[in-house]
Subunit: 362 residues, 2 copies
Amino acid sequence: MTQPLVISIDAMGGDHGPPVVIPAVVSATKSLPEDVRFLLHGDETVIAAALAKHRDAAQRVEIRHAERVIAMDEKPAQALRRGKGTSMWAAVEAVREGQAVAAVSAGNTGAMVAISKLILRMIGDLERPALVTSIPTPSGVTTFLDAGANIDCDAERLVEFAIMGEAYHRAALGVAKPTVGLLNVGSEEMKGHEEVREANRILREGRIDLDYRGFVEGDDITRGCVDVIVTDGFTGNVALKAMEGAGRFMVAELRSALSSGLMATLGALLARSALLKFRERLSPPPAAPLLGLNGLVVKCHGGASERDFAMAIRLAVDLARSDFSAEIERNMRRLPDALAEPAPAPTIEASPTEGAAQGASE
Amino acid sequence: MTQPLVISIDAMGGDHGPPVVIPAVVSATKSLPEDVRFLLHGDETVIAAALAKHRDAAQRVEIRHAERVIAMDEKPAQALRRGKGTSMWAAVEAVREGQAVAAVSAGNTGAMVAISKLILRMIGDLERPALVTSIPTPSGVTTFLDAGANIDCDAERLVEFAIMGEAYHRAALGVAKPTVGLLNVGSEEMKGHEEVREANRILREGRIDLDYRGFVEGDDITRGCVDVIVTDGFTGNVALKAMEGAGRFMVAELRSALSSGLMATLGALLARSALLKFRERLSPPPAAPLLGLNGLVVKCHGGASERDFAMAIRLAVDLARSDFSAEIERNMRRLPDALAEPAPAPTIEASPTEGAAQGASE
């Protein structure tokens, strides 16, 4: 007999809470194998009532009562102080205690990052978790991080993101040697601010086992010229939301363009199913894992629908079955060496390596 | 008799140079009034040859020979050192000398910013020019800056951009009191890095005559909830290119969705003209003015087509006829006061104002 695979769920998180989360769990149980089971953290009475009509699902669920909930506008520091005993805290704690392989929540992002970091701790010497997301491209997906967990990022953080993102892409998508790019405002070496230029230098040195391809630009995110694109959480969050907004605007424009005139309307009716497929393909992914933790945490967006939350659960199951955490750990071991000053002068004998140009070229 | 309105053009700039620029000038002369005339800077022989077949246009053009051209990958510092005598330098110099009301170039952006700043100098105490662009929204356009002229921006730069962008929106679009937002990763006051929080504080203080509405997010760029959106040139450039890439991806996806299956193809044929209108509406603007200079400079994108460059010329003419520079100057006078420390304690008597919370709340 195989061990059951248990997913720990914050049943109260998100804009909607149990009315969305519980039906999502019920729907997920239908498509996931028998060995996937759930811990639901939150108000016992509410959860039990919502499960009453679903006997099959209820048999795969264990309810853990949690008295309190972290509010969507609570600050991270506040969430850390008073988080114990909340449904989110309990959901993450179950992962640390080995009772579940992953935690899923649609709650407050900042609180979730802070609580996960405190409870699970970072892998090795990693500093902060990163939110990773997948963007559709003509040929597949771009793994994009940080999606907004880290506002201020120095060069070391960006290098960490490159390692985490590459390991994630390999584990989640089965690409043996993913290519990596650093987001910048141009492809020339002298472009960008100090942090990206320094991260570029470290990655170029090649002491980390990464297929690093240099700088990429904003329009490369949907182009698929590299597998993994790395940026700070401020730029990443703005770029993702800008693309999401552009997508929404385009769908609205398209709808209005297609309803002007009889022929256009007729055309749109005929092309209806093709257009639906198009919209489907462009919806932003509803969930993103937090990378770099000793344990798997999946963040579902706050306004998630039942379908979105069910997708987040399936993502957690898929990731739990992959070995991306081990991949990250393996690469992290190379980090301290990579961050060392380039080409230190050997004491006994000078090695005839190609001298790394260190000076700023301007 | 009215004075002619002269536009000074870098005929050699951009990826294509004269083969695109000269036909664009010829086409612009056809739609612009008789009093609009041109100074063309660049290789006299090449320009004269290209104009030979267009006698009407040639009569409204004066050629100024320039021996050299600034390369597209030249660094700003290098362009400043060896820029004198190039077509770009001469085009901007004609504005300073009052021979033209605006300069237009599709050349190297960094070089153009540096050269324009050196030759024309900034208005008042402004520090750096900003590239401003217009993004379509359901109800009109968003004025968005900085589009990439300034990679590192402190709070004062962001406040300057707010002043310049607001004045530009009023002058270019005739909106009496444009609303202004600051791009961030969330709308709550505690969100974002120090620079945006500090700029938010200065703008909130209300000592500058702006209708400031606080933080906006990436998806607000195409939503039109405020007229002017301000950010640093790194984030701005990435967001614009990300949206452009998303647009290109969507059009490609749409085309493929609409060609799958007979009904979809039939539908697409019928909706063809509506789809063309849709694409038209979504093309990114081909030209952007550099704000904050004592003189008008319009930057056309490097890969500009003949049609794009003609649009840049028309933009220069429209802006030359507006009074946006005077608008910027008027607002700039309020800046030193606005940047002063909030609510300085009076020496004689304490004023019973609501104490501005200055401490970080975390």
